[in-house]
């Protein structure tokens, strides 16, 4: 035990004396969570639009005012002719143009029918989609107000309710993802680098010739990272609660336990990587390519798994991050207990056991 404590002390010296790893450990989580929280968002706010109004009557004015009053759009300019549409788009600032047909009011009253063309800049398809949806919503809203007096014979009124994230805040979606990335990064990449570093320096050989057992060396190397990863998880959760007002509906204890499970899985992966790479650089490349990319692309963090092609959906099943994201989303947003996520937890546990067994076996083979 005394040997073990000495070993861990040494690991902390390594970590705290290396500015690079300190930055990755503590700078990265904060930077990422703030970046994802503030800068990267699916919501639209104050999108610049242009108006081409061919009729300039009472109705169009009312609609334009309604749009201008919403926080989603701000009217950048009024244009006069069709050919200007292309010009404003090419300048790049305006993301959408509303084109009201001639005699808008008259048509509406006489024929119960009037046209607005909504042209959006689809170089960014997601934003374009969102913009056209929002414009539609505002128009529907306007119509409903106008038609209050009239009662149609039949009417289907969908009343949608978004549950668990009623304001559709994208930060709710990013926090679990970022937490997963950070824990993966710290646990897997940092441990694989720190183990290969000893191999590169030749100190691993000295440790193996010492009475320390290989398993003690491994545990000694990963223990500090378990500790630091837990601190990181706490920092991320605290930041998201206090800065982004993210709710944690479920039990904090369960969230903590699941995080520890995921951290252990990631650490086992880190050990595995260190057994197959001879240098720190190789370890880093394998961690980035083999772990980070799948976590970002295939875990359902950014791109929904259900809309992926089947082969990718199958691959996504073997990515531990996918299950962890499902688990923490369920705990944080839905507030469920273990009875709803035991399946995912079991899968993650199985993966952890598998990777630990594999890395222990690999490590032994390396020692011959």
């Amino acid at each position: 035990m005394k040997r073990f404590i000495g070993f861990i002390k040494k690991e902390f010296y390594h970590i705290f004396r290396d500015r690079r790893s300190l930055f990755i450990l503590f700078g990265m989580p904060v930077a990422q969570i703030l970046l994802f929280g503030f800068a990267i968002t699916n919501e639209i706010n104050n999108v610049d639009i242009a108006i081409l109004d061919h009729s300039k009557d009472a109705t169009t004015k009312e609609i334009i005012n309604k749009i201008a009053a919403s926080k989603y759009f701000s009217i950048n300019q009024f244009i006069e002719k069709e050919s200007d549409i292309e010009v404003v788009f090419k300048k790049g600032k305006v993301k959408a143009v509303l084109n009201f047909e001639k005699d808008f009011s008259k048509n509406l009253i006489k024929e119960n029918h009037a046209n607005i063309q909504v042209i959006t800049d689809a170089t960014d398809p997601n934003t374009a989609n969102t913009i056209s949806n929002y414009v539609n919503a505002i128009l529907q809203n306007y119509l409903k107000e106008q038609n209050k007096s009239l009662t149609a014979a039949y009417q289907i009124v969908p009343k949608t309710r978004m549950v668990y994230n009623p304001e559709l805040k994208s930060v709710y979606m990013f926090v679990p993802g970022v937490m997963t990335i950070i824990l993966m990064l710290v646990s897997a990449m940092m441990t694989s680098i720190s183990i290969t570093r000893e191999k590169e320096l030749g100190t691993m050989e000295i440790l193996l010739v010492s009475p320390l057992k290989p398993i003690q060396v491994i545990i000694g190397k990963v223990f500090p990272y378990i500790f630091l990863s837990i601190i990181n998880a706490i920092v991320i959760i605290v930041l998201s609660i206090f800065i982004f007002k993210m709710p944690v509906q479920g039990s904090l204890f369960l969230l903590g336990m699941e995080s520890v499970l995921f951290i252990i899985t990631a650490l086992a992966l880190g050990i595995l990587i260190s057994t197959i790479s001879a240098t720190q650089q190789t370890a880093m490349m394998i961690s980035l390519m083999g772990l980070m990319l799948p976590v970002i692309l295939l875990s359902g963090f950014i791109f929904p798994i259900t809309s992926m092609p089947l082969p990718l959906q199958v691959i996504s099943h073997i990515i531990p991050a996918k299950w962890f994201i499902i688990i923490i989303k369920a705990i944080m947003l839905k507030g469920v207990g273990l009875q709803y996520i035991w399946k995912e937890t079991l899968i993650l546990l199985g993966m952890a056991v598998f990777f630990i067994a594999l890395s222990v076996k690999k490590y032994k083979i390396r020692l011959e």
Binding site: R3, K10, Y13, H14, G202, E205, L207, P211
Partner: protein, 242 residues
Amino acid sequence: MNNNKVIHVEGLTKMFGDFAAVDAITFDVKKGEIFGFLGANGAGKTTAMKMLIGISSPTSGKASVAGFDVITQAEDIKKNIGYMSQKFALYDDLTVKENITFFGGIYGLSRKHIKEKSAVLIEELGLENVANKLVGSLPLGWKQKLSFSVSLLHDPKIVFLDEPTGGVDPITRRQFWEMIYKAANQGTTVFVTTHYMDEAEYCDRVSIMVNGKIEALDTPKRLKEQFKAADMNDVFLKLARG
């Protein structure tokens, strides 16, 4: 088992596929001896040594170190030996004192014991002024001497040195050999690989490995007579050329 023989090797072999890196070597090392393990690069010295220190298992043959079998009792061997590898292997980002404390710790020395030892060691090496400096800032010669002292920290019966003087200046090499003599005088057996032939003259006995086999083994004096050579360099060249 003769008590006087601290290392006993019989037909020790290591195969990598069809290639015999170490080909049925047999030799003994006596207690308190400085045993030179010579050979060109790639002759199999390091592989042989790795089997003796228990981090590589032999394909066939047997060997015992400090009375323990290398195959079945590797853990017991580890407690009784010190090892200094080819690569300089202390932690650059730890101070001199921290390195000593760490390595003392993994060999299970008590805190008090480590404190006493490190005070003596730092004084002997003249490192008082840099005891709290990072090892990375020390010149290579100092690091090598420190590394050797650290490998002796737990008073091992045998210390294995793998080309310990690679890349250091002649004066430091000289001082290094003085340290080796001192350790040998205190009863530690020294097993040292080198390819500096002048260093071979300092050893009590030397073995010369060529292509995985031990081709000669005796005191430097008798080897020179046997091969009618002026110095060990000559002996080595005659052997290596066949």
